[in-house]
Symmetry: C2
Subunit: 502 residues, 2 copies
């Protein structure tokens, strides 16, 4: 609450400063606040290179599992999002009413997916969707928590036999986290029906299930004492019920499966039977080493109806992935990364959109990609490896003046052969500055035009790193394809010829 | 104006209907309006397949020319967008003031790019950016005009010698439109300085340059008479000035270059000299066959300061690309596609964001991708070729009951070998339905498990299209890599063995 108030003050201050700037400074000159909106960020070329690498790993996995992809608009009718997110609804961004429909920015990709299924009467599909979502949350950008952030969702919709698609979702989380090489992780699994059964057994009134569930969900962020206090003082739960919940959420998997009291709840029993079934499939998928049944896992969203799960990086794992000593500086920040994937079964959501309430059972998982980006960026900074932000193979340079025409002619040839090539946008660039650009940008080859070469009808090709100039040299008009050039750069790097230019 | 009023009525009606739905029907049951926001659309898996193909062509071209990529948030501080778009500013989407900063959805990618450069003090970069932008415009979805749409921008920022980066932008448009195979096209080129010089020569008062420019820009959508009427009646230009403009915009390139009156304007002369220089580079880039100097081209945006250009598909080209007869039904709709790329030089925009007004000269181009999607979709529908929406290579199927465990074991092996594979989420699926799924989804191979095969320690592999079952067959536990499987599917399709199942 205190945090909320502080947050609000922050925002009011920002707004006032913005207004002040709009009104102008002393000179009456228009002054800009040069920033991105709160909780958002630009991606620079290096960050984009990391982002694309991560996306490519994730998309490969989704495609290996046979998923199609769809896309939906960034905003939905406000009403489409209403009543789907419980207490988190206050975090939805609304658009201004400018005459027309009332719109909100999407809060996740799951509700738009359900709307899409109902609208197009699709009863089964396996799809992934990678796109940005929006939450007016308290940003913590160093930990990868933004107000605009990517979600990478994989969902399976359709009436199938129990726990088979659910198990595949967990298999996918396992594969992606392993392939991204983020260090050790755990996937916690629970079931909303077990939670509800437990709430019933503990004496939580029906109408308080969802709100108590939201509080239990905070167990990964705050200690039990605070969670208990919120249940009792804010949500009016009896102390006895709260203490019983406390006992259950600290229990281990095996004991829960045999708990006499819990087995009185039909809901809980159905959930527990499914968890058993799930683990038998996970065994076949060879992923049980990382999956644990954890009754303290609750997930914040209202729409889950069955199994739920969340993947967390273990502290040691994160530190190792970032190449930090356990007690190193900055270590504390990086170990708090926490949840990197989550999801569950939501069999009722599509039915909420269907005029006749027809249900389409769904299960899915969302990869918390921003946190993964943060880790990958830290990893990249810690390593000495240089990240290239372009793929240029060759720079077309000149050793003397007045060769712009010749450079443009040659690069036209290279481009039409599909070779990635650059030229400096100067009439008479210095050779040194052309070579420096190659070194800074990591361009492996430079084609150097000079008057002598033009007379001889050849192009001097130099390997930038070694300064070697392999022979035979390429003659203008003879470039055939990107293969020729790539081959040249690989096979001739060990030929020792002299570099004669400048 | 009449159109505007009608549009507003439309929107009011939509809003009332939405409110009515929210209040509920007769039964008091919550009724949803099941739609996407006006002017937006979902992309289904087929449309996504087309979209990804188009993006990949465009990105390859941008990378061939050595561009990096960046990303910016979908919303900016409202103030960042203020005063950049002239008369089109009314089309900007604002976010609701929910306490905090005042925000707007980005209207294009150029202004956020300039903000990014100024904020990070970047003085030279060559970058592309592919992302969605937002305009509260009158949508015409059948012609690919949406309120949410993609832009694919390529820009070169930096102080360089005149017209070299400008020529590369045109080269890129030429390459992309050629590679996308959209039919014949033209790239119109003009210069804001020539336009301004012409306005001065024709007697347009200075303060009316931008607004008259906006009207001239409509020449591709409405006849000269209407443009003239808007200039005179709405914008208060003298009839004489309007008529002189009319004369100029109908003139051909060569005559303009020699026009005595125009050469009295220093601005126009500078522009004309640059156009000449530009064409000399375009000649070296071998693209002059499609580029024309056209004084009627004006471009709507305020921020252009030098050369401007726009690519249009020719009517014949569009019809041919869509495989339609010139007089075919639906032809009329598809030929109105018009502009598919546009851009120009904007040397003052970054300076508007810099506290000290430091300028960073920029030139860039935006590919009008939505119109291209529309054409590609029409093309795909006209052709018989089936578009696959997944890349699954093999389906793991069973011929008898109770083989789920075996199927899950085998698919686990396939996935870990990097093979794209699917399994039906049923304990006992019918073989026929498994094979039907393969045919519908275009999956080339099916691995069929049966009791006999399990006994023999083999897996029956069938080519779905031909029903051939090549030998030797793969033994479980022997799958090594995706290469093995791909090879099998290619090299053995001509081996004639009998298909024995069902």
């Amino acid at each position: 609450m205190k945090l909320c108030a502080l947050l609000q003050i922050d925002e009011e201050v920002a707004k006032l400063l913005q207004l002040k700037a709009q009104l102008g400074g002393d000179e009456g000159k228009h002054q800009f606040v040069l920033k991105t909106a709160k909780g958002t960020r630009d991606y620079n070329p290096k960050q984009m290179a990391i982002r694309e690498k991560v996306f490519s790993t994730i998309v490969s996995c989704f495609k290996r599992h046979g998923a199609e992809t769809i896309d939906t608009p960034v905003f939905e009718l406000k009403e489409t999002l209403t009543g789907k997110y419980g207490e988190d609804s206050k975090l939805i961004y609304d658009l201004k009413d400018q005459g027309g429909e009332l719109l909100s920015l999407r809060y996740d990709l799951t509700v738009p997916f359900a709307r899409y299924l109902a609208m197009n009467k699709i009863t089964n599909i396996k799809r992934y969707h990678i796109a940005k979502v929006y939450r007016r949350d308290n940003p913590a950008m160093t930990r990868g928590r933004y107000r605009e952030f990517y979600q990478c969702d994989f969902d399976i919709a359709g009436q199938y036999d129990a726990m088979i698609p659910d198990a595949e979702c967990l298999k996918i989380v396992y594969e992606i986290l392993s392939e991204l090489d983020l260090g050790d992780f755990r996937i916690k699994v629970n079931d909303r029906r077990i939670l509800d059964g437990m709430f019933a057994v503990c004496g939580v009134p029906d109408e308080k299930f969802r709100t108590i569930c939201s509080t239990v969900d905070k167990l990964d962020k705050m200690p039990w004492e605070e969670v208990r206090r919120e249940m009792v003082e804010e949500k009016g739960l009896s102390e006895q019920a709260a203490d019983q919940i406390g006992e259950y959420v600290s229990m281990q998997g095996e004991r829960l499966l045999q708990d006499q009291k819990l087995s009185q709840s039909k809901l809980a029993c159905a959930g527990l039977a499914d968890i058993k079934q799930l683990f038998s499939y996970l065994q076949l998928f060879q992923v049980t080493d990382k999956v644990v049944f954890d009754l303290s896992l609750a997930r914040g969203l209202d729409y889950y109806t069955g199994i739920i799960y969340e993947a967390v990086l273990t502290q040691a794992g994160v530190a190792a992935a970032c190449g930090e000593a356990q007690n190193g500086a900055g270590g504390e920040e990086s170990v708090s990364v926490g949840s990197v994937a989550g999801g569950g079964r939501y069999d009722g959501l599509v039915g909420m959109f269907d005029p006749k309430g027809r249900k389409v059972p769904c299960v899915g998982v969302s990869i918390g990609i921003e946190r993964i980006f943060s880790i990958m960026e830290q990893k990249a900074e810690a390593s000495a490896e240089k990240i290239r932000t372009t793929q240029v193979q060759v720079m077309v340079a000149s050793a003397q003046k007045n060769l712009l025409e010749e450079r443009l002619k040659l690069i036209t040839e290279l481009w039409s052969a599909g070779i990635k090539a650059e030229v400096m946008y100067k009439k008479n660039p210095k050779l040194l500055s052309q070579l420096q650009h190659c070194e800074e940008a990591g361009i492996p080859l430079v084609a150097i035009l000079g008057e002598q070469e033009l007379k001889d009808g050849v192009v001097k090709l130099r390997v930038v790193a070694s300064r070697e100039e392999p022979r035979p040299q390429t003659t203008p008009g003879q470039i055939k394809s990107r293969e020729t050039l790539t081959e040249t750069s690989h096979t001739h790097t060990h030929t020792h010829t002299q570099s004669t230019v400048h």
